[in-house]
């Protein structure tokens, strides 16, 4: 790790101000992604602005038609929340299956989606649930937030404050885990809402995406058999030592079908 200036802040305003004054600053949330990169000397921010003291960013509120979860809420807190478990159980389950207990106790919702790892779980939920990402500057829809591999619509000094997840009729998340990292090789989140079904797929491609073709057939016939009609193109799929593009494309359909079945 290289030397850096450390800032402990108590408010969103102070965080953004510290970022404004920094040469090459970085917010740190749970540090689960950022600290390993710094330890390996792959990242060398001039300033690290620790969001750990910003209590406004932590918490889970049920606003009737949506769950609003603060950016600094840990995966463990989401998994254990009675509010989440009753409103969107699939989301609690998703959070409870990220990494291991140590990762879940430190890692945060905001950090996960800001990082936008192609194999991360939360992006699938944000997209499928039609969530809105709230920042210090604006609100961004889930569909617009994730722009590419490790890329988001966030600007340099923009801070995620919370994510608002509309409560669906029912939802399910099915994850096919990488045997080594246990991130998603393919993760499928399906939400049934009054406005129709939304399908989001993570892990398979450089960035989580909406499975529009699946949505279309499921809106006509919400059954796993209906999904057989959908062709999943191999072209955009990731390929690595754990799963070829062809296998991933195959898994996408299998996982969508299992998620449909899990929706009941």
């Amino acid at each position: 790790m290289y030397d850096f200036l450390y800032h402990k802040v108590n408010s969103v305003d102070d965080a953004v101000a510290a970022m404004g004054n920094a040469d090459d600053g970085k917010f740190v949330a749970g540090g689960q992604t950022m600290l390993p990169t710094m330890k390996h000397r792959l990242a060398s921010p001039s300033d690290v602005i620790d969001l750990g003291g910003v209590s406004d960013l932590v918490g889970i509120a049920n606003e009737g038609d949506a769950l609003v979860i603060g950016a600094m809420t840990t995966h463990a807190a989401v998994a254990a929340s009675a509010e989440v478990q009753s409103a969107i159980p699939a989301l609690a389950k998703l959070a409870g299956n990220i990494g291991d207990p140590a990762v879940r106790n430190r890692g945060t919702l905001g950090g996960s989606i800001a990082n936008n790892d192609p194999a991360a779980d939360y992006p699938a939920a944000v997209i499928a649930l039609g969530a809105t990402v709230k920042t210090n500057k604006r609100e961004i829809t889930g569909d617009d937030f994730f722009t590419g591999m490790f890329e988001t619509a966030l600007e340099e000094d923009e801070l995620i404050t919370a994510v608002s997840f509309p409560i669906p009729m029912t939802a399910a998340y099915i994850k096919f885990e990488n045997p080594a990292s246990r991130y998603a090789i393919v993760g499928v989140f399906i939400a049934k809402t009054v406005d129709g079904n939304r399908v989001a797929i993570t892990g398979a491609t450089p960035c989580a995406y909406r499975g529009m073709k699946f949505e279309k057939v499921l809106n006509e016939d919400f059954s796993s058999n209906a999904c057989d009609a959908v062709e999943v193109s191999v072209d955009r799929m990731n390929s690595d030592i754990h799963a070829s593009a062809e296998y991933r494309a195959h898994l996408v359909k299998v996982m969508v079908k299992r998620a449909v079945d899990a929706c009941g």
Binding site: P179, Y183, I241, H242, L251
Partner: protein, 783 residues
């Protein structure tokens, strides 16, 4: 009867300090004035070093010194050695390229050592390393085991044409050919034994201290064999004479073979602490462990079995290409040769065996012993081949094994491949395992699984291994540079408690408990009054360390022999005190008694008399402290049958192990709980190899599985609860009747798992690791 003696599952003495965080590992040790070392490593698989400029690094803040290979050579520090000779088919010894601890003009794998930077802090050492300018001339790399000897591959070492280390033919080639020519059937199988990273939990570390007054070097190091380290570093590397070198292997967090070897880092640290006249500490990180710990396995082989009409094995032929990596690690040559080909008979009466092993160099980390070392490779090949043979002969896998087992009345059994097995009852183990696994009930379970959309399979593995390594004369004949006896000292203190010094080393095995049980059984001293001391050449008389499941079978016997000497001496002391003839003294349960009387004396009192010899047998030396060495007559041959049952999800290729049963013959069990723990750990290691672990380099020699994000280790949820039982026999050559249990699971499990998968899918073969994608593809083909 003593408490906590042989056969009791005593809780482990050592666990208290580990559980409350009081373990003392090398990295826990910090000394005044300590500096920190960082190794600059090659980023290339294969490159010449055109120049190295260390000036900026040497001037970097906090840097104490920077050294390169030239500095080591200038001080006459020898290159790293390989201690076992294998004779190649041209009659010459294996090709042994120089293995400099810091590179000399060339690097041969990613992670190869280029320079050491010593600084006040680790961060400063790393900063310094970044300022070393190395001009590399990148060369094409050789990374594929199967292709390494091909003519179109680049040469790594001048002394090794075609990247060949040795070509070692062994066995009766003509006899085997004749048997094949007239056989009823020949089964054939090509397979890969996947390369593994050994992955002990604690990374390697070393701390060197030089005392300018005594001119002694103390080297704390993560080692499985402190005396072997001292011997090699003194005799071959000229680090310091043996009497001026103290090697301490304190608590060590797992070894699995990877900490047997003498590595570049500890040699350089030991040397550098004298150069800078300050203690030097190096602790590897996980990435360094992946890059530069010796790896395991990595074979490509073809195996053939000739059979008669009844499926009796007539002859076997095995062609193996084994990857030794970029240089020869300490015992590397022995692993794919003697520890492999000599086990190819397995549990069977196959009369004729011919094997050819071509060992090759590649631009990858050195490959050496990893839990089982050669024996897992032999067992995997054989037990897979036997299943293919069963398939070809349309016989049940259990039946073909039964037909070919060495019968229990044939022991000691001389195999055609050197080894003479001590004892065994292979049918008993198979029968017991089949009951434990409910083999009979399998078809019903398979049918039920189909109803749930799953394919269920069952797989057997009947293994034998050679441990208790080893009779010195036998290994000497084979080309080993060392003797493999073990040594012990059992010392009573005047107050009656006992210190047991063993030359073996415990790095997770629980010796402090098991060996105390041996002593309490034999001497009757309460278990809690016995302390086992190991791991420090300044405390322990001598020893060859722990590997090859030898600690109890060899080291335990040395302890027992020292105890016998104490009893003999104790009888003299007791006879004097009790005013009886020595011949009338009997010893049992800690008491010396005069036969036929109630006159008795506890061994503690005897010890006191020995140290306070006011009234003492004339001419007898005072003191109650005995040494013993033990050199075994033979290896020991644990064996058994493991049965694995899997369910395959053919939609995804995911394999779930639903049931795993193990029946082993380890001879007598001293602490059944510890043995069961070893069996569990071994099985998990083997399951890791079968399903998850695959170390991969790309064509340029970059290690693409260099973190746990890409290298899959087995976890608790990858395995079921195991059903473990035993079918012991009594090995006549071992005075304690013990065999060894540390590697059995890792040897037995891989073929059991793969045989279950091939059974589930009805296919001939699938290579390890049977990852979901590979299984899915195989299932597509099979469907």
């Amino acid at each position: 009867m003593v408490e906590n003696g042989i056969g009791v599952s005593v809780l482990r003495k050592e666990d208290k300090r580990f559980l409350i965080g009081k373990g003392n590992y090398t990295d826990d040790i910090n000394v005044a004035g300590q500096t920190h070392a960082y190794f600059l490593r090659s980023p290339h698989g294969h490159a010449t070093i055109e120049s190295i400029d260390i000036s900026a690094a040497a001037a970097s803040a906090g840097v104490v010194a920077v050294f390169t290979g030239d500095d080591l050579a200038a001080d006459g520090i020898g290159t790293l050695i390989c201690g076992v000779t294998v004779t190649s088919d041209d009659g010459e010894p294996h090709r042994a390229p120089a293995h400099p601890a810091l590179a000399q003009g060339k690097v041969n794998y990613v992670g190869d050592h280029v320079a050491i930077v010593i600084a006040e802090t680790l961060a400063q050492a790393k900063d310094g390393a970044e300022k070393i300018a190395v001009d590399y001339g990148v060369l094409p790399a050789v990374t594929e085991t199967a292709r390494a000897a091909d003519d179109d591959q680049v040469q790594i070492h001048e002394v090794a044409p075609n990247n060949m280390c040795f070509n070692w033919p062994f066995g009766d080639k003509e006899g085997v050919e004749a048997a094949f020519a007239s056989a009823h059937k020949v089964s054939r199988l090509e397979l890969i034994n996947n390369r593994m990273v050994t992955n002990p939990m604690e990374p390697r570390a070393s701390l060197g201290e030089y005392n300018t007054g005594t001119e002694e070097i103390t080297l704390h190091v993560t080692t499985q064999n402190p005396h072997v380290h001292r011997l090699v570093l003194s005799a071959f590397n000229q680090l310091a004479p043996e009497h001026k070198l103290r090697v301490v292997g304190p608590d060590v967090g797992g070894g699995f073979g990877a900490k047997i070897f003498v590595y570049a880092e500890e040699l350089v640290v030991g040397w550098a602490c004298r150069k800078v006249e300050r203690p030097v500490k190096w602790t590897g990180d996980r990435t360094e462990a992946f890059l530069a710990d010796a790896h395991g396995r990595d074979h490509v082989a073809t195996a053939e079995m000739a059979m008669d009409e009844d499926g009796k094995f007539l002859a076997m032929r095995v062609m193996t290409q084994a990857n030794l990596g970029a240089y020869l690690s300490t015992f590397s040559t022995m692993v794919p040769s003697y520890l492999y080909a000599f086990l190819l008979a397995g549990q069977y009466t196959t009369p004729l065996i011919y094997s050819e092993v071509k060992a090759v160099f590649t631009n990858t980390a050195p490959v050496d012993a990893c839990r089982g070392a050669g024996r897992p490779e032999a067992t995997y090949l054989l037990e897979r081949l036997v299943d293919v043979a069963a398939r070809d002969m349309d016989l049940d896998p259990a039946e073909i094994r039964r037909r070919n087992f060495i019968p229990k009345d044939a022991f000691p059994y001389q195999t055609p491949v050197v080894q003479c097995y001590d004892s065994g009852d292979y049918v008993a183990a198979l029968d017991k395992a089949m009951v434990l696994a409910d083999y009979e009930g399998f078809p019903a379970r398979a049918t039920e699984a189909i109803a749930r959309g799953k394919r269920r399979g069952i797989g057997l593995s009947s293994y034998v291994e050679a441990c208790g390594i080893a009779p010195s004369a036998a290994v000497g004949q084979l080309g080993a540079g060392v003797g493999l006896w073990e040594s012990a000292q059992v010392r009573f203190n005047p107050t009656g408690n006992v210190q047991v010094f063993t030359g073996t080393h415990s790095h997770g095995q629980g010796h402090e408990t098991t060996f105390a049980q041996l002593v309490t059984e034999q001497l009757g001293v309460p278990f809690e009054n016995i302390e086992v001391v190991h791991g420090d050449t300044a405390k322990t008389q001598f020893g060859m360390g722990t590997y090859g499941s030898r600690s109890l079978a060899v080291g335990g016997v040395a302890i027992a022999k020292a105890c016998e000497k104490l009893i003999t001496k104790g009888k003299k002391i007791a006879a004097h005190a009790l005013e009886a003839a020595e011949g009338d003294i009997e010893f049992a349960d800690g008491n010396f008694t005069v036969a036929g009387t109630d006159k008795a004396m506890n061994i503690g009192e005897v010890a006191f008399n020995a140290y306070v010899p006011h009234s003492y047998p004339e001419g007898l030396e005072p003191g109650f402290d005995e040494n013993a060495f033990f050199d075994p007559l033979n290896f020991s041959f644990p064996a058994g049958t493991h049965i694995c049952e899997v369910e395959v999800d053919t939609d995804t290729g995911v394999v779930e192990i639903v049931k795993y049963s193990a029946v082993d013959d380890f001879g007598k069990l001293v602490n059944p709980m510890i043995v069961e723990g070893q069996v569990h750990g071994g099985i998990v290691h083997g399951v890791g190899q079968a399903l998850l672990e695959g170390c991969r380099y790309d064509s340029e020699g970059q290690l693409i599985t260099a973190t746990y994000m890409d290298y899959a280790m087995p976890r608790a949820d990858n395995v079921p609860s195991f059903d473990v039982d035993y079918a012991p026999t009594d090995p006549p050559d071992n005075p304690l009747g013990v065999k060894g249990c540390g590697e059995a699971g890792a040897i037995a499990a891989p073929p059991a798992v793969i045989n279950a998968i091939t059974n589930a899918l009805g296919i001939k073969h699938i290579d390890m690791p049977a990852t979901p994608e590979n299984v899915w593809r195989a299932a597509q083909g099979a469907a």
